[in-house]
Protein backbone atom coordinates (compact mmCIF):
# COMPACT_ATOMS: atom_id res chain seq x y z
CA UNK A 1 0.00 0.00 0.00
CA UNK A 2 1.48 3.37 -0.94
CA UNK A 3 1.99 6.05 1.66
CA UNK A 4 -0.99 8.31 2.19
CA UNK A 5 1.24 11.31 2.83
CA UNK A 6 4.78 11.97 1.67
CA UNK A 7 6.76 14.98 2.76
CA UNK A 8 10.00 15.75 0.97
CA UNK A 9 12.54 18.15 2.48
CA UNK A 10 9.88 20.64 3.59
CA UNK A 11 11.21 23.79 5.18
CA UNK A 12 8.78 26.32 6.57
CA UNK A 13 10.01 29.64 7.88
CA UNK A 14 8.01 32.39 9.58
CA UNK A 15 10.35 35.32 9.27
CA UNK A 16 13.48 34.29 11.13
CA UNK A 17 11.85 31.36 12.87
CA UNK A 18 12.14 27.96 11.24
CA UNK A 19 9.07 25.85 12.00
CA UNK A 20 10.03 22.95 9.75
CA UNK A 21 13.62 22.24 8.84
CA UNK A 22 13.99 20.04 5.75
CA UNK A 23 11.44 17.62 7.15
CA UNK A 24 11.17 14.39 5.18
CA UNK A 25 8.60 11.81 6.21
CA UNK A 26 6.29 9.13 4.89
CA UNK A 27 2.94 8.39 6.51
CA UNK A 28 1.70 4.87 5.74
CA UNK A 29 -2.00 4.01 5.66
CA UNK A 30 -3.85 3.33 8.88
CA UNK A 31 -3.40 5.51 11.92
CA UNK A 32 -0.16 7.43 12.18
CA UNK A 33 0.82 9.59 15.12
CA UNK A 34 2.54 12.88 14.52
CA UNK A 35 4.44 13.33 17.74
CA UNK A 36 6.46 16.17 19.07
CA UNK A 37 6.76 18.55 21.97
CA UNK A 38 4.95 21.88 21.82
CA UNK A 39 6.50 24.01 19.09
CA UNK A 40 8.02 21.03 17.29
CA UNK A 41 6.25 21.92 14.04
CA UNK A 42 3.35 19.45 14.07
CA UNK A 43 0.62 21.99 13.36
CA UNK A 44 2.80 23.74 10.79
CA UNK A 45 3.27 20.44 8.99
CA UNK A 46 -0.49 19.79 9.00
CA UNK A 47 -1.09 23.27 7.64
CA UNK A 48 1.40 22.70 4.87
CA UNK A 49 -0.40 19.46 4.03
CA UNK A 50 -3.74 21.30 3.98
CA UNK A 51 -2.32 23.93 1.65
CA UNK A 52 -2.79 26.71 4.24
CA UNK A 53 0.92 27.42 4.25
CA UNK A 54 3.25 27.37 1.29
CA UNK A 55 6.56 25.82 2.33
CA UNK A 56 9.71 27.83 1.81
CA UNK A 57 11.25 24.81 0.09
CA UNK A 58 10.30 21.18 -0.45
CA UNK A 59 7.16 19.41 -1.56
CA UNK A 60 4.38 17.30 -0.11
CA UNK A 61 1.95 14.79 -1.55
CA UNK A 62 -1.32 13.77 0.07
CA UNK A 63 -3.09 10.70 -1.32
CA UNK A 64 -0.84 11.00 -4.36
CA UNK A 65 -1.75 14.63 -5.02
CA UNK A 66 0.74 17.46 -4.91
CA UNK A 67 -0.37 19.87 -2.19
CA UNK A 68 0.99 22.93 -3.96
CA UNK A 69 -0.58 22.08 -7.31
CA UNK A 70 -3.91 20.57 -6.21
CA UNK A 71 -4.81 22.06 -2.83
CA UNK A 72 -8.56 21.93 -3.50
CA UNK A 73 -8.43 18.28 -4.59
CA UNK A 74 -6.44 17.47 -1.46
CA UNK A 75 -8.97 19.20 0.78
CA UNK A 76 -11.81 17.46 -1.04
CA UNK A 77 -10.33 14.09 -0.14
CA UNK A 78 -9.40 14.79 3.47
CA UNK A 79 -11.06 15.95 6.66
CA UNK A 80 -9.47 18.30 9.19
CA UNK A 81 -10.19 18.62 12.86
CA UNK A 82 -8.43 21.79 14.03
CA UNK A 83 -6.76 22.11 17.39
CA UNK A 84 -8.33 25.45 18.25
CA UNK A 85 -11.88 25.96 19.46
CA UNK A 86 -13.77 26.80 16.30
CA UNK A 87 -17.28 26.73 14.94
CA UNK A 88 -19.51 28.68 12.62
CA UNK A 89 -21.58 31.05 14.77
CA UNK A 90 -25.35 30.77 14.88
CA UNK A 91 -25.56 27.14 13.77
CA UNK A 92 -26.47 24.03 15.71
CA UNK A 93 -24.38 20.90 15.26
CA UNK A 94 -26.58 19.41 12.55
CA UNK A 95 -26.61 22.66 10.60
CA UNK A 96 -22.86 23.05 11.00
CA UNK A 97 -22.07 19.54 9.82
CA UNK A 98 -24.51 19.60 6.92
CA UNK A 99 -23.12 23.01 5.96
CA UNK A 100 -19.62 21.50 6.05
CA UNK A 101 -20.84 18.72 3.77
CA UNK A 102 -22.40 21.20 1.35
CA UNK A 103 -19.18 23.22 1.29
CA UNK A 104 -17.51 20.01 0.14
CA UNK A 105 -20.05 19.80 -2.68
CA UNK A 106 -22.52 17.28 -1.25
CA UNK A 107 -26.18 17.68 -2.25
CA UNK A 108 -28.19 19.29 0.56
CA UNK A 109 -30.34 16.27 1.43
CA UNK A 110 -27.34 13.94 1.48
CA UNK A 111 -25.40 16.44 3.58
CA UNK A 112 -28.15 16.61 6.19
CA UNK A 113 -28.41 12.82 6.40
CA UNK A 114 -24.64 12.44 6.64
CA UNK A 115 -24.52 15.16 9.30
CA UNK A 116 -26.88 13.15 11.48
CA UNK A 117 -24.84 10.01 10.93
CA UNK A 118 -21.52 11.66 11.68
CA UNK A 119 -22.86 13.36 14.80
CA UNK A 120 -24.48 10.19 16.03
CA UNK A 121 -21.22 8.35 15.39
CA UNK A 122 -19.40 11.03 17.39
CA UNK A 123 -21.79 10.34 20.29
CA UNK A 124 -23.55 13.68 20.26
CA UNK A 125 -27.03 12.19 20.36
CA UNK A 126 -29.90 14.60 20.88
CA UNK A 127 -27.54 17.42 21.81
CA UNK A 128 -26.90 17.84 18.10
CA UNK A 129 -29.87 20.18 17.83
CA UNK A 130 -28.40 22.67 20.29
CA UNK A 131 -26.38 25.68 19.14
CA UNK A 132 -22.68 24.82 19.18
CA UNK A 133 -21.94 27.94 21.28
CA UNK A 134 -23.65 26.23 24.23
CA UNK A 135 -21.51 23.08 24.08
CA UNK A 136 -18.88 21.96 26.54
CA UNK A 137 -15.29 21.58 25.33
CA UNK A 138 -15.74 17.84 24.89
CA UNK A 139 -18.88 18.28 22.81
CA UNK A 140 -17.17 20.86 20.64
CA UNK A 141 -14.36 18.38 20.01
CA UNK A 142 -16.95 15.84 18.86
CA UNK A 143 -18.57 18.36 16.53
CA UNK A 144 -15.16 19.18 15.07
CA UNK A 145 -14.59 15.49 14.45
CA UNK A 146 -18.05 15.04 12.91
CA UNK A 147 -17.64 17.99 10.53
CA UNK A 148 -14.32 16.53 9.40
CA UNK A 149 -15.98 13.19 8.63
CA UNK A 150 -19.24 14.32 7.08
CA UNK A 151 -18.12 14.16 3.44
CA UNK A 152 -16.55 10.71 3.82
CA UNK A 153 -12.86 11.59 3.58
CA UNK A 154 -10.22 8.93 2.92
CA UNK A 155 -7.86 10.63 5.33
CA UNK A 156 -8.43 12.79 8.39
CA UNK A 157 -5.99 15.10 10.13
CA UNK A 158 -6.75 15.27 13.83
CA UNK A 159 -4.88 18.05 15.59
CA UNK A 160 -4.73 17.40 19.35
CA UNK A 161 -8.19 15.79 19.42
CA UNK A 162 -8.14 15.05 23.16
CA UNK A 163 -7.31 18.62 24.21
CA UNK A 164 -9.55 19.77 27.01
CA UNK A 165 -11.34 16.45 27.41
CA UNK A 166 -12.07 14.85 30.75
CA UNK A 167 -10.77 11.27 31.24
CA UNK A 168 -14.04 9.70 30.08
CA UNK A 169 -14.25 11.97 27.08
CA UNK A 170 -10.65 11.23 26.22
CA UNK A 171 -11.23 7.48 26.30
CA UNK A 172 -14.31 7.85 24.08
CA UNK A 173 -12.45 10.05 21.61
CA UNK A 174 -9.58 7.56 21.39
CA UNK A 175 -12.08 4.74 20.86
CA UNK A 176 -13.59 6.69 17.98
CA UNK A 177 -10.18 7.26 16.42
CA UNK A 178 -9.31 3.58 16.75
CA UNK A 179 -12.64 2.59 15.25
CA UNK A 180 -12.19 5.00 12.36
CA UNK A 181 -8.81 3.65 11.35
CA UNK A 182 -9.39 -0.03 12.10
CA UNK A 183 -13.03 -0.63 11.20
CA UNK A 184 -14.12 2.19 8.97
CA UNK A 185 -11.11 2.25 6.68
CA UNK A 186 -10.35 5.92 7.24
CA UNK A 187 -6.67 6.82 7.36
CA UNK A 188 -5.83 8.98 10.34
CA UNK A 189 -2.97 11.31 11.08
CA UNK A 190 -3.13 12.13 14.76
CA UNK A 191 -1.06 15.10 15.82
CA UNK A 192 -0.45 15.08 19.55
CA UNK A 193 2.08 15.71 22.24
CA UNK A 194 0.40 13.03 24.36
CA UNK A 195 2.39 9.85 23.83
CA UNK A 196 -0.22 7.69 25.46
CA UNK A 197 -2.93 8.84 23.06
CA UNK A 198 -0.73 8.01 20.10
CA UNK A 199 0.37 4.67 21.52
CA UNK A 200 -3.26 3.67 22.13
CA UNK A 201 -4.50 4.53 18.66
CA UNK A 202 -1.68 4.43 16.12
CA UNK A 203 0.46 1.74 14.60
CA UNK A 204 3.11 4.12 13.24
CA UNK A 205 4.57 7.43 14.29
CA UNK A 206 6.50 10.33 12.86
CA UNK A 207 8.39 12.22 15.55
CA UNK A 208 9.24 15.87 15.19
CA UNK A 209 11.58 17.96 17.28
CA UNK A 210 12.61 21.52 16.51
CA UNK A 211 11.11 21.21 13.06
CA UNK A 212 13.04 18.10 12.11
CA UNK A 213 11.81 14.55 11.70
CA UNK A 214 13.83 12.67 14.30
CA UNK A 215 12.24 9.21 14.10
CA UNK A 216 9.62 7.49 11.99
CA UNK A 217 8.30 3.98 11.53
CA UNK A 218 5.99 1.52 13.20
CA UNK A 219 5.83 1.83 16.96
CA UNK A 220 6.85 -1.81 17.34
CA UNK A 221 9.95 -1.39 15.17
CA UNK A 222 10.96 1.82 16.84
CA UNK A 223 10.70 0.26 20.26
CA UNK A 224 12.73 -2.73 19.13
CA UNK A 225 15.43 -0.81 17.39
CA UNK A 226 15.81 2.27 19.43
CA UNK A 227 17.02 1.20 22.80
CA UNK A 228 18.49 -1.52 24.92
CA UNK A 229 17.15 -0.75 28.36
CA UNK A 230 18.20 -2.58 31.49
CA UNK A 231 17.23 -2.28 35.12
CA UNK A 232 20.32 -2.85 37.25
CA UNK A 233 20.96 -2.98 40.98
CA UNK A 234 24.48 -3.22 42.38
CA UNK A 235 25.60 -3.96 45.86
CA UNK A 236 26.93 -1.03 47.83
CA UNK A 237 27.81 2.39 46.43
CA UNK A 238 26.70 2.59 42.79
CA UNK A 239 28.93 5.58 41.93
CA UNK A 240 31.99 3.63 40.68
CA UNK A 241 29.70 1.43 38.61
CA UNK A 242 27.84 4.34 37.05
CA UNK A 243 31.15 6.04 36.20
CA UNK A 244 32.29 2.89 34.43
CA UNK A 245 28.94 2.61 32.63
CA UNK A 246 29.27 6.18 31.41
CA UNK A 247 32.87 5.51 30.32
CA UNK A 248 31.58 2.56 28.27
CA UNK A 249 29.34 4.90 26.28
CA UNK A 250 26.04 3.99 27.96
CA UNK A 251 23.74 6.32 29.83
CA UNK A 252 21.88 5.77 33.07
CA UNK A 253 19.41 7.32 35.41
CA UNK A 254 18.40 6.43 38.97
CA UNK A 255 15.05 4.76 39.61
CA UNK A 256 13.21 3.78 42.79
CA UNK A 257 14.59 1.25 45.29
CA UNK A 258 18.22 1.79 44.31
CA UNK A 259 17.59 0.59 40.79
CA UNK A 260 19.42 2.11 37.87
CA UNK A 261 17.98 2.36 34.38
CA UNK A 262 20.83 1.88 31.95
CA UNK A 263 20.32 2.46 28.27
CA UNK A 264 22.96 1.00 26.01
CA UNK A 265 23.94 2.39 22.67
CA UNK A 266 22.64 0.55 19.62
CA UNK A 267 24.65 -2.52 18.73
CA UNK A 268 26.12 -3.04 22.16
CA UNK A 269 25.11 -5.95 24.38
CA UNK A 270 24.62 -6.52 28.06
CA UNK A 271 28.23 -7.68 28.39
CA UNK A 272 29.12 -4.00 28.70
CA UNK A 273 27.35 -3.98 32.06
CA UNK A 274 29.43 -6.89 33.32
CA UNK A 275 32.55 -5.23 31.98
CA UNK A 276 31.67 -2.03 33.87
CA UNK A 277 30.96 -4.04 37.01
CA UNK A 278 34.30 -5.82 36.73
CA UNK A 279 36.17 -2.54 36.22
CA UNK A 280 34.47 -0.84 39.15
CA UNK A 281 34.48 -3.85 41.43
CA UNK A 282 30.70 -3.75 41.77
CA UNK A 283 28.47 -6.73 42.27
CA UNK A 284 25.40 -6.87 40.08
CA UNK A 285 22.51 -8.11 42.19
CA UNK A 286 19.67 -7.47 39.77
CA UNK A 287 19.61 -7.30 35.97
CA UNK A 288 16.44 -7.18 33.90
CA UNK A 289 15.99 -6.19 30.31
CA UNK A 290 13.10 -3.76 30.07
CA UNK A 291 10.83 -3.33 27.07
CA UNK A 292 11.11 0.30 26.02
CA UNK A 293 7.94 2.37 25.87
CA UNK A 294 7.13 4.93 23.23
CA UNK A 295 8.08 7.51 25.83
CA UNK A 296 11.59 6.05 25.96
CA UNK A 297 11.88 6.18 22.19
CA UNK A 298 10.53 9.71 22.12
CA UNK A 299 12.72 10.94 24.96
CA UNK A 300 15.78 9.50 23.27
CA UNK A 301 14.85 10.96 19.89
CA UNK A 302 14.03 14.39 21.22
CA UNK A 303 17.00 14.33 23.58
CA UNK A 304 19.36 13.48 20.74
CA UNK A 305 18.00 16.37 18.77
Amino acid sequence: MPNVVEVEAVTMRYGRMTALDAATAAFPDGAVGLLGPNGAGKTSLLKVLLGFLVPTTGSARVLGMNVLEQPLDVRQAIGYMPEVDCHIPGLNAVELCSYAGELCGMPRVEAIQRAHEALYYANLGEARYRPVETYSTGMKQRVKLAQALVHGPRLVFLDEPTNGLDPKGRIEMLQLIRDLSRKKGVNVILSSHLLKDVEETCSSVVMLAKGKVVRQGTIADLKKAALDLYEVRVKGDPDPFTKSVTACGASWKPMNDGLLEVSLANGTGSEILFKAAAESGAQIRHLTRRAPTLEDVFARAVGAE
Binding site: G15, Q76, G90, E117
Partner: protein, 279 residues
Amino acid sequence: MPIYDQSYRPYRGSFSSHATRWLTIARTGLIQFLKRRPFLVFITLTFIPPIVCGFIIYFAHRFPEQTLTKIDAEFFRRLMEIQTVWFLLLGIYPGAGLISNDLRWNAIQLYLSKPLTKLDYVLGKFATLATFLVGITLLPGLVLFILELSFSSDSKFLVAYWWIPLALAGYAASAATAWGLIVLAISSLSKNSRYVGVLLFTLSLFTSGFAQFMRGVFGRDGVIVISGLDSLKILTYVFFGGVSEYGDHRVGAVVMLALMSVASALILRSRVRAVEVVT
Protein backbone atom coordinates in the same frame (compact mmCIF):
# COMPACT_ATOMS: atom_id res chain seq x y z
CA MET B 1 -32.91 2.11 7.63
CA PRO B 2 -33.24 4.55 10.55
CA ILE B 3 -30.44 7.06 10.78
CA TYR B 4 -29.47 5.92 14.26
CA ASP B 5 -28.82 2.39 12.99
CA GLN B 6 -26.49 3.42 10.22
CA SER B 7 -23.38 4.47 12.14
CA TYR B 8 -20.58 5.93 10.05
CA ARG B 9 -20.08 4.70 6.51
CA PRO B 10 -18.12 5.91 3.52
CA TYR B 11 -19.85 8.44 1.29
CA ARG B 12 -20.37 7.09 -2.22
CA GLY B 13 -22.40 9.96 -3.65
CA SER B 14 -21.42 12.73 -6.00
CA PHE B 15 -19.97 16.18 -5.31
CA SER B 16 -21.05 19.33 -7.10
CA SER B 17 -18.69 21.47 -9.13
CA HIS B 18 -16.29 23.66 -7.23
CA ALA B 19 -17.46 26.74 -9.13
CA THR B 20 -20.72 27.04 -7.20
CA ARG B 21 -19.48 26.42 -3.65
CA TRP B 22 -19.60 30.14 -2.80
CA LEU B 23 -23.33 30.03 -3.41
CA THR B 24 -23.66 27.68 -0.43
CA ILE B 25 -22.05 30.29 1.80
CA ALA B 26 -24.30 33.01 0.41
CA ARG B 27 -27.46 30.92 0.73
CA THR B 28 -26.69 29.84 4.28
CA GLY B 29 -25.90 33.45 5.25
CA LEU B 30 -29.19 34.68 3.79
CA ILE B 31 -31.20 31.97 5.51
CA GLN B 32 -29.49 32.69 8.83
CA PHE B 33 -30.44 36.37 8.68
CA LEU B 34 -33.94 35.86 7.34
CA LYS B 35 -34.65 33.53 10.27
CA ARG B 36 -34.13 36.41 12.70
CA ARG B 37 -37.22 38.43 13.50
CA PRO B 38 -35.42 41.73 14.25
CA PHE B 39 -33.76 41.53 10.88
CA LEU B 40 -37.08 40.88 9.14
CA VAL B 41 -38.55 43.93 10.88
CA PHE B 42 -35.56 45.99 9.80
CA ILE B 43 -35.64 44.83 6.19
CA THR B 44 -39.38 45.57 6.11
CA LEU B 45 -38.65 49.13 7.23
CA THR B 46 -36.34 49.61 4.24
CA PHE B 47 -39.36 49.16 1.97
CA ILE B 48 -41.30 52.07 3.47
CA PRO B 49 -39.83 54.69 1.07
CA PRO B 50 -40.62 52.57 -2.01
CA ILE B 51 -44.16 52.02 -0.70
CA VAL B 52 -44.56 55.78 -0.30
CA CYS B 53 -43.23 56.18 -3.86
CA GLY B 54 -45.81 53.64 -4.98
CA PHE B 55 -48.56 55.78 -3.50
CA ILE B 56 -47.09 58.84 -5.21
CA ILE B 57 -47.24 57.04 -8.56
CA TYR B 58 -50.79 55.97 -7.85
CA PHE B 59 -51.91 59.46 -6.88
CA ALA B 60 -50.07 60.97 -9.86
CA HIS B 61 -52.29 58.89 -12.14
CA ARG B 62 -55.44 58.94 -10.05
CA PHE B 63 -55.38 62.70 -9.48
CA PRO B 64 -53.22 64.08 -12.31
CA GLU B 65 -54.27 67.67 -11.56
CA GLN B 66 -52.75 67.42 -8.05
CA THR B 67 -49.48 65.78 -8.99
CA LEU B 68 -46.98 65.86 -6.14
CA THR B 69 -44.00 65.16 -8.31
CA LYS B 70 -43.24 64.21 -11.86
CA ILE B 71 -42.55 60.53 -12.46
CA ASP B 72 -39.34 60.65 -14.42
CA ALA B 73 -35.68 59.65 -14.17
CA GLU B 74 -35.14 62.10 -11.29
CA PHE B 75 -37.95 60.38 -9.36
CA PHE B 76 -36.13 57.04 -9.62
CA ARG B 77 -32.76 58.64 -8.87
CA ARG B 78 -34.15 60.12 -5.70
CA LEU B 79 -35.54 56.76 -4.72
CA MET B 80 -32.06 55.24 -5.13
CA GLU B 81 -30.54 58.09 -3.11
CA ILE B 82 -33.06 57.52 -0.31
CA GLN B 83 -32.49 53.77 -0.33
CA THR B 84 -28.73 54.33 -0.12
CA VAL B 85 -29.26 55.74 3.37
CA TRP B 86 -30.17 52.20 4.47
CA PHE B 87 -26.78 51.00 3.26
CA LEU B 88 -25.13 52.26 6.42
CA LEU B 89 -27.61 50.41 8.62
CA LEU B 90 -27.30 47.23 6.55
CA GLY B 91 -23.54 47.59 6.87
CA ILE B 92 -23.84 47.70 10.64
CA TYR B 93 -26.37 44.89 10.76
CA PRO B 94 -25.84 42.33 9.28
CA GLY B 95 -22.67 43.45 7.45
CA ALA B 96 -20.42 44.08 10.45
CA GLY B 97 -20.55 40.50 11.71
CA LEU B 98 -20.12 38.74 8.40
CA ILE B 99 -16.37 38.21 8.72
CA SER B 100 -15.65 39.46 12.24
CA ASN B 101 -17.82 36.75 13.82
CA ASP B 102 -15.97 34.11 11.80
CA LEU B 103 -12.67 35.58 12.99
CA ARG B 104 -13.91 35.52 16.57
CA TRP B 105 -14.85 31.83 16.45
CA ASN B 106 -11.93 30.75 14.22
CA ALA B 107 -14.45 29.72 11.59
CA ILE B 108 -12.31 30.83 8.65
CA GLN B 109 -10.03 27.88 9.35
CA LEU B 110 -13.05 25.59 9.12
CA TYR B 111 -14.17 27.14 5.85
CA LEU B 112 -10.74 26.98 4.26
CA SER B 113 -10.14 23.40 5.39
CA LYS B 114 -12.92 22.53 2.94
CA PRO B 115 -12.29 22.63 -0.80
CA LEU B 116 -12.79 26.40 -0.94
CA THR B 117 -10.50 29.23 -1.90
CA LYS B 118 -10.27 32.56 -0.11
CA LEU B 119 -12.08 34.06 -3.08
CA ASP B 120 -14.96 31.58 -2.67
CA TYR B 121 -15.26 32.56 0.98
CA VAL B 122 -15.20 36.31 0.33
CA LEU B 123 -17.54 35.93 -2.64
CA GLY B 124 -20.02 34.00 -0.50
CA LYS B 125 -19.96 36.60 2.26
CA PHE B 126 -20.12 39.43 -0.26
CA ALA B 127 -23.08 37.84 -2.02
CA THR B 128 -24.95 37.61 1.30
CA LEU B 129 -24.64 41.36 1.90
CA ALA B 130 -24.96 42.34 -1.76
CA THR B 131 -28.26 40.45 -2.04
CA PHE B 132 -29.76 42.68 0.65
CA LEU B 133 -28.22 45.84 -0.84
CA VAL B 134 -29.47 45.02 -4.33
CA GLY B 135 -32.76 43.84 -2.86
CA ILE B 136 -33.55 47.23 -1.33
CA THR B 137 -32.53 49.20 -4.43
CA LEU B 138 -33.09 47.27 -7.64
CA LEU B 139 -36.15 45.31 -6.54
CA PRO B 140 -38.33 48.27 -5.42
CA GLY B 141 -37.03 50.33 -8.34
CA LEU B 142 -38.15 47.73 -10.86
CA VAL B 143 -41.50 47.22 -9.13
CA LEU B 144 -42.16 50.97 -9.22
CA PHE B 145 -41.12 51.15 -12.87
CA ILE B 146 -43.58 48.38 -13.70
CA LEU B 147 -46.22 50.11 -11.58
CA GLU B 148 -45.72 53.34 -13.50
CA LEU B 149 -45.95 51.45 -16.80
CA SER B 150 -49.11 49.70 -15.71
CA PHE B 151 -50.76 53.03 -14.82
CA SER B 152 -49.63 54.74 -18.02
CA SER B 153 -52.31 54.99 -20.67
CA ASP B 154 -49.81 55.40 -23.49
CA SER B 155 -46.22 54.46 -24.33
CA LYS B 156 -44.70 57.91 -23.76
CA PHE B 157 -43.11 56.96 -20.46
CA LEU B 158 -41.67 53.74 -21.85
CA VAL B 159 -40.27 55.46 -24.94
CA ALA B 160 -38.71 58.23 -22.88
CA TYR B 161 -37.40 56.14 -20.00
CA TRP B 162 -36.90 52.61 -21.34
CA TRP B 163 -33.37 52.77 -19.96
CA ILE B 164 -34.39 53.20 -16.33
CA PRO B 165 -34.34 49.45 -15.52
CA LEU B 166 -30.77 49.35 -16.87
CA ALA B 167 -29.86 52.40 -14.79
CA LEU B 168 -31.42 50.80 -11.71
CA ALA B 169 -29.48 47.59 -12.29
CA GLY B 170 -26.26 49.49 -12.99
CA TYR B 171 -26.55 51.62 -9.88
CA ALA B 172 -27.62 48.74 -7.64
CA ALA B 173 -24.75 46.56 -8.84
CA SER B 174 -22.12 49.32 -8.61
CA ALA B 175 -23.25 50.60 -5.23
CA ALA B 176 -23.62 47.10 -3.77
CA THR B 177 -20.16 46.14 -5.02
CA ALA B 178 -18.42 49.19 -3.61
CA TRP B 179 -20.30 49.29 -0.31
CA GLY B 180 -20.24 45.52 0.11
CA LEU B 181 -16.46 45.43 -0.26
CA ILE B 182 -15.98 48.36 2.11
CA VAL B 183 -18.18 46.76 4.78
CA LEU B 184 -16.51 43.35 4.43
CA ALA B 185 -13.06 44.92 4.66
CA ILE B 186 -13.98 46.76 7.85
CA SER B 187 -15.62 43.60 9.18
CA SER B 188 -12.36 41.74 8.70
CA LEU B 189 -10.44 44.22 10.86
CA SER B 190 -11.78 43.08 14.23
CA LYS B 191 -13.05 39.96 15.96
CA ASN B 192 -15.76 42.00 17.64
CA SER B 193 -18.72 42.83 15.39
CA ARG B 194 -19.82 45.62 17.74
CA TYR B 195 -16.51 47.40 17.31
CA VAL B 196 -16.87 46.91 13.57
CA GLY B 197 -20.35 48.43 13.64
CA VAL B 198 -19.15 51.40 15.67
CA LEU B 199 -16.13 51.84 13.38
CA LEU B 200 -18.28 51.74 10.27
CA PHE B 201 -20.78 54.21 11.71
CA THR B 202 -18.05 56.54 12.97
CA LEU B 203 -16.07 56.42 9.75
CA SER B 204 -19.16 57.11 7.66
CA LEU B 205 -20.26 60.04 9.79
CA PHE B 206 -16.74 61.35 10.25
CA THR B 207 -15.84 61.34 6.56
CA SER B 208 -19.16 62.93 5.71
CA GLY B 209 -18.75 65.60 8.41
CA PHE B 210 -15.11 66.16 7.51
CA ALA B 211 -16.05 66.60 3.86
CA GLN B 212 -18.68 69.19 4.80
CA PHE B 213 -16.16 70.96 7.02
CA MET B 214 -13.56 71.06 4.24
CA ARG B 215 -16.23 72.35 1.88
CA GLY B 216 -17.05 75.12 4.28
CA VAL B 217 -13.42 76.07 4.92
CA PHE B 218 -12.01 75.80 1.42
CA GLY B 219 -15.20 76.30 -0.56
CA ARG B 220 -14.41 73.34 -2.79
CA ASP B 221 -17.36 71.02 -3.32
CA GLY B 222 -15.22 68.24 -4.78
CA VAL B 223 -14.00 67.11 -1.36
CA ILE B 224 -17.44 65.62 -0.76
CA VAL B 225 -16.29 62.46 -2.56
CA ILE B 226 -14.07 61.44 0.37
CA SER B 227 -17.26 60.25 2.04
CA GLY B 228 -18.23 56.79 0.80
CA LEU B 229 -21.95 57.30 1.35
CA ASP B 230 -21.92 60.73 -0.32
CA SER B 231 -20.01 59.26 -3.24
CA LEU B 232 -22.72 56.63 -3.55
CA LYS B 233 -25.32 59.39 -3.71
CA ILE B 234 -23.33 61.18 -6.41
CA LEU B 235 -23.11 57.83 -8.21
CA THR B 236 -26.89 57.99 -8.76
CA TYR B 237 -26.27 60.93 -11.12
CA VAL B 238 -23.90 58.78 -13.17
CA PHE B 239 -26.73 56.39 -13.99
CA PHE B 240 -29.76 58.67 -14.00
CA GLY B 241 -28.23 61.93 -15.26
CA GLY B 242 -28.39 65.38 -13.71
CA VAL B 243 -26.06 67.27 -11.44
CA SER B 244 -25.98 67.18 -7.66
CA GLU B 245 -26.26 70.17 -5.35
CA TYR B 246 -22.47 69.97 -4.97
CA GLY B 247 -21.86 70.30 -8.71
CA ASP B 248 -20.76 67.69 -11.16
CA HIS B 249 -18.34 65.39 -9.31
CA ARG B 250 -19.39 62.16 -10.94
CA VAL B 251 -15.89 61.26 -12.12
CA GLY B 252 -14.44 62.02 -8.70
CA ALA B 253 -17.06 59.86 -6.98
CA VAL B 254 -16.49 56.95 -9.36
CA VAL B 255 -12.72 57.17 -8.93
CA MET B 256 -13.04 57.39 -5.13
CA LEU B 257 -15.41 54.41 -4.97
CA ALA B 258 -13.09 52.42 -7.23
CA LEU B 259 -10.12 53.26 -5.01
CA MET B 260 -12.07 52.34 -1.88
CA SER B 261 -13.09 49.04 -3.49
CA VAL B 262 -9.52 48.18 -4.45
CA ALA B 263 -8.25 49.09 -0.99
CA SER B 264 -11.00 46.96 0.56
CA ALA B 265 -10.12 44.02 -1.68
CA LEU B 266 -6.48 44.31 -0.60
CA ILE B 267 -7.47 44.39 3.07
CA LEU B 268 -9.64 41.31 2.59
CA ARG B 269 -6.79 39.54 0.82
CA SER B 270 -4.50 40.03 3.76
CA ARG B 271 -7.05 39.51 6.56
CA VAL B 272 -8.89 36.43 5.31
CA ARG B 273 -6.55 33.51 5.88
CA ALA B 274 -6.64 30.13 7.47
CA VAL B 275 -3.57 30.67 9.58
CA GLU B 276 -2.60 33.61 11.75
CA VAL B 277 1.12 33.94 11.13
CA VAL B 278 2.97 36.04 13.67
CA THR B 279 6.63 36.52 12.81
